[in-house]
């Protein structure tokens, strides 16, 4: 598997397995290791097709889950931590294979635009990161870091203190090496 990834020229990739037990083969360097605690999916989550949830952790007022849909496809998701078991967004594989990401970070920025403003505002950034990722930063559209978060148990949540246009999301490993960068300023 590692050879295939290297051969494909990918510098990093990770697998997400939603089932209980080890999240990946031992020794795989870039994998979500947190398996989480079982939580009963709410009716609202079931309406989204979610059949099982495991709470990976909470960050601020956000709860992060892995789980599975009704066809046992692996899923990731997050929602309001005051309403455990209810996911606000989900990312589910469309078959039985693990979710496969080409990057060590799955970033899910939340943005809004109001009439007359003509520009996007970063409201929040939630995300999942491989075991090797330690820190995530968010910049505004000028490249100034406006917020950052440590990755704990493979998840992170960032809420900028002020209204900013989305810029670049960057992630670093434990040695401070840049392992992910995605520019949203063109969005």
């Amino acid at each position: 598997m590692v050879c295939l990834l290297v051969a494909a020229g990918l510098t990093a990739a990770f697998l997400v397995r939603a089932r209980t037990g080890p999240a990946a083969p031992p020794g795989y360097p870039s994998t979500i290791g947190a398996s989480g605690k079982p939580v009963t999916p709410s009716a609202a989550s079931r309406k989204l097709g979610i059949a099982s949830l495991q709470l990976i952790g909470t960050r601020g007022n956000r709860a992060f889950y892995r789980g599975s849909d009704a066809d046992n496809h692996p899923c990731l998701g997050a929602g309001d931590a005051s309403n455990l078991g209810t996911v606000g967004f989900t990312l589910c594989s469309r078959d039985e294979r693990p979710l496969i990401a080409s990057d060590p970070v799955i970033a899910v920025p939340d943005v809004q635009m109001t009439e007359g403003s003509g520009r996007w505002q970063l409201v929040r950034l939630d995300g999942f990161a491989a075991d090797s990722v330690a820190r995530v930063t968010a910049t505004d559209s000028a490249g100034v870091v406006v917020a950052e978060a440590q990755v704990v148990d493979n998840v992170f949540s960032i809420v900028p203190a002020t209204a900013v246009e989305p810029g670049t999301i960057k992630a670093y490993d434990r040695n401070g090496k840049l392992v992910f960068s995605h520019d949203y300023s063109g969005g």
Binding site: G88, I100, S102, I106, A107, V111
Partner: protein, 131 residues
């Protein structure tokens, strides 16, 4: 007697087949890019390229199915008359369905579900919504 029973059955059948006012599903499959014209009744003040918009409804999810990994992202969410809010679908993850609810975005009620091109290369995907 049989005629009366038939009437009752017919009425019951018509009620069963009539969708609730808020029920519905919308989907659009195509290429999202910075140059494709928008499709659907997108809100007038943000009706640009690479957008796919549903009609108005009491949607409970806005979603995208992708069939291949991409280097970019799509914005998946909702519109009302004065606000658009959504989440960037991580298109580096294949092959997946990304869903977001109005409540997650602090929205609710009568909305347009929308998906729009945000970053990266042109991308083929199916945007959909259900109520």
């Amino acid at each position: 007697m049989n005629r009366r029973l038939l009437s009752v059955v017919a009425v019951a059948a018509s009620l069963a087949l009539t969708p609730a006012a808020s029920a519905g599903i919308w989907s659009w499959t195509g290429t999202f890019s910075s140059t494709n014209p928008h499709t659907g009744p997108c809100i007038w003040w943000h009706s640009g390229q690479g957008q796919a918009c549903s009609g108005w409804n009491y949607w409970n999810t806005s979603a995208v199915n992708n069939g291949a990994a991409n280097d970019g992202s799509l914005l998946v969410g909702f519109q009302n008359n004065n606000r658009i809010r959504g989440k960037y679908d991580p298109e580096g993850v294949c092959c997946a369905t990304f869903q977001v609810t109005p409540g997650e975005l602090g929205m609710g009620g009568y909305l347009i579900a929308q998906t729009e091109y945000a970053t990266g290369n042109p991308y083929n995907a199916t945007a959909w919504a259900s109520a």
